[in-house]
């Protein structure tokens, strides 16, 4: 590690340390380490971040509603994690590459993923929604933690090929218990890979509180793997933007990986199939409602004399558009062709699969002939 990292390691993983630029009341606090990283964020930029968060929250609400209406098979809500996802995704360069889990809808949105692309998987019509190379975002990962290794491998290749782009891996608090994630730390550190580990600690792994996974702030895990770990208020979009920019920048400069623990909260169920009442009380939620990521930015904007009528109107208009697009999208998702079940298993011809495909085509044809049994 470079001395600067060592410093970083010492500084940034001091337990209890939580980077916060904007407190729940919306008051801006100076932070010599990280203010420079958001010096360019003026009122307009703040309004954009506000709009982004309002839009993705609305998208999330709409998608949840679509699931309730039976239009989607399942939906994992991001409610409460808007700042963590918008702040970190806004910090990325277009060419950086995202390896996410299943809950990063806001990240996908900022990567330009379209409503149809966002919903098809959850509707069950496609195994993935978009071309990873177009959006610079990999197929979202359901196997907990597996994508962290993919991000590291991508980053190792970036370093070997001398490309200055960075990989960012999103995963949850629960994922930190999986071997893959820890092995990803080992490889990233060993190869000084330009990768940022962005852990959204939303307090829960389905019904399991983060305390079951670790008795230590998760950010503290990083130091032992030779990289800086930093804890940030995950509901403070400005702080998230700052620390992610810091981590991306040092990775870009060849200083290797960093780990970010964004402390946030999953306000909704794990997925629409989950019933949080079985494992947490409304009081748990109340405390976090006080720390709403959108409200505090709204307060800051108001305090900084922005034209709030315009800010709100703009956000609402954008959210309405997005919501309308989403609802429209659902009706535009055709069911897949039966025989497409065989597509893309292999990139090259495969005699065994061809035979099964032929046989199944004949099977379906029999029905046309004789009419369904």
């Amino acid at each position: 590690m470079t001395p600067s990292d060592r410093e970083a390691t010492g500084l940034l993983t001091r337990p209890g340390d939580l980077v916060q630029l904007l407190d729940p009341a919306g008051t801006r606090h100076a932070n010599p380490d990280f203010d420079p990283w958001v010096a360019d964020v003026d009122t307009d930029a703040l309004a954009d971040l506000h709009r982004d968060m309002v839009v993705v929250r609305r998208l999330d609400t709409e998608a949840t509603a679509l699931q309730r209406q039976g239009e989607l098979g399942l939906w994992p809500p991001l409610a409460g994690q808007e700042a963590a996802q918008i702040g970190s995704a806004r910090a990325l360069d277009d060419e950086d590459f995202v390896f996410s889990s299943y809950r990063e809808h806001a990240v996908a949105w900022l990567r330009g993923v379209q409503p149809v692309e966002l919903l098809s998987v959850w509707r069950g019509t496609a195994s993935s929604g978009w071309n990873p190379y177009e959006k610079r975002m990999a197929v979202p990962q359901i196997i907990i933690g597996a994508q962290s290794l993919h991000a590291v491998g991508w980053a190792m290749g970036a370093k070997w090929q001398g490309d200055e782009h960075v990989a960012i891996s999103y995963f949850g608090d629960g994922a930190t218990s999986e071997g893959d994630v820890n092995e990803a730390f080992v490889f990233a550190s060993s190869f000084d890979a330009p990768v940022v580990f962005f852990c959204q600690n939303n307090g829960w792994a389905i019904s399991e509180p983060v305390g079951l996974q670790s008795k230590q702030p998760l950010a503290r895990r990083a130091d032992g793997f030779g990289m800086p770990g930093i804890r940030v208020d995950g509901n403070d979009v400005l702080a998230v933007l700052a620390v992610t920019r810091w981590a991306l920048d040092r990775a870009r400069r060849g200083e290797g990986p960093a780990f970010i623990e964004a402390v946030t909260y999953r306000m909704g169920p794990h997925t629409t199939a989950d019933d949080p009442k079985r494992y947490r009380t409304d009081d748990d939620l109340a405390a976090w409602r006080e720390r709403d990521p959108i409200a505090r930015l709204h307060a800051l904007l108001a305090a900084s004399g922005a034209d709030m009528a315009a800010v709100d109107a703009d956000a609402k208009a954008a959210a309405d558009r997005a919501a309308a697009d989403l609802r429209a999208a659902i009706t535009n998702i055709p069911d897949p062709e039966p025989m497409s079940v065989f597509d893309h298993v292999y990139a090259e011809p495969n005699s065994h699969l061809e035979r099964q495909r032929t046989r199944y085509a004949r099977y379906l044809a029999m029905f046309d002939e004789e009419g369904a049994r």
Partner: protein
């Protein structure tokens, strides 16, 4: 007799085992406070405490590896893998440790572990939530593999699996969790049919149809449908996938001379291949036609809207029966087709 769903029957079987034997401990993700994502362990943590029904950190290798350590000191760990597609991170602990430790320790260390896996598709789930990994386990020496298909069996078999001194992979047909059936909660293990023995669930003369798990019901429905067409199908619920109860199947095939094996897992190297090969070895001269396999395609599990084109259903099973009977079917004149 009590009417219970298959899921509830397993829950009662686990409760009974926890009550009967202090060394039984349940481990898994979300099995305690939540009662499991399918609620199979519902109420058990409240009843037996957090050290008998253990919510673990999110790590399959961790769950299985610590279960091995617990077995080392005499516990009978019952591990829940949340969904079939999540067992692979723990594969090494299963194949290299759980399955081999009794052999490696020359019989000194027993691994009386049960690995519960809700398996199979048909619930419109997302990827990795509908897999049928059984063949990976039936090919692994040292493991026993069983699959239940109805509430009565589920209640007895889970207790038999827990009582077994060998490690048992216990496959639960998740899409049948809510199907009800009569269960004798006082069923006495001693009198119960051993989990290694298959059951003829419908007798017939013309074809022997072997399957397990969720497809047993589909096979019975197929038998009913075929009866109307004058074809008499004998349906065998395999129950034990390793070892397979060949005597029961053999007795049936010697009478019918025709065999169809059905499962959701892919064809290539699936359980059906083993049964077809073994039955051909055992009663070649009794076979009137080649054993037929009706299986899922050899593809990754498809998106939900396509699963009905992947999973064997009543019609595909009947197509297989037609083939076994030498009637027109989807494989007719495939001989022409390359490969």
């Amino acid at each position: 007799m009590t009417a219970l769903t298959l899921g509830k029957a397993i829950n009662e079987g686990l409760r009974r085992s926890l009550a009967d034997d202090d060394t039984v401990v349940l481990m898994g993700e979300d099995i305690g406070t939540l009662g499991g994502v399918f609620r199979i362990t519902d109420g058990l943590k409240a009843e037996f405490g957090a050290e008998r029904v253990v919510d673990t950190p999110l790590s399959e290798a961790g769950i299985l590896g610590t279960a091995v350590g617990l077995a080392y000191r005499g516990f009978r760990p019952v591990v829940e893998i949340q969904f079939d597609g999540f067992v692979y991170p723990g594969f090494d602990q299963i194949v290299a440790q759980v399955a081999k430790l009794h052999y490696r320790s020359r019989g000194n260390v027993k691994m009386p572990m049960v690995i519960r896996i809700p398996f199979g598709g048909g619930i419109g789930a997302a990827e990795h939530h509908s897999e049928s990994p059984e063949a990976y386990f039936t090919h692994t020496a040292g493991l026993r593999v069983v699959a239940c298909s109805n509430p009565a069996d589920a209640y007895v078999m889970i207790r038999q699996a827990i009582a077994s001194d060998d490690p048992v992979v216990f496959l639960e047909p998740k899409r049948r969790y809510h199907v009800k059936g009569e269960v004798d909660l006082d069923a006495n293990l001693a009198d119960a049919r051993p989990m290694g023995v298959a059951t003829v669930v419908a007798s017939g003369r013309d074809v022997t149809l072997v399957t397990y798990g969720a497809l047993v019901q589909t096979a019975r429905d197929a038998a009913t449908a075929a009866a109307e067409e004058g074809v008499s199908i004998e349906v065998v619920d395999l129950r034990s996938l390793a070892p397979v109860d060949y005597s029961t199947i053999e007795a049936s095939v010697r009478r019918t001379g025709r065999l169809v094996v059905a499962h959701e897992a892919g064809e290539q190297g699936g359980v059906g291949a083993e049964i077809a090969a073994s039955m051909t070895e055992r009663c070649f001269e009794y076979l009137e036609a080649a054993p037929v396999r009706v299986t899922g395609h050899d593809i990754p599990y498809p998106p939900a809207k396509l699963e009905q084109h992947h999973l064997p259903d009543l019609d595909r099973i009947l197509d297989g029966v037609d083939r076994a009977m030498g009637r027109p079917n989807s494989l007719s004149d495939m001989s022409g087709v390359e490969a």
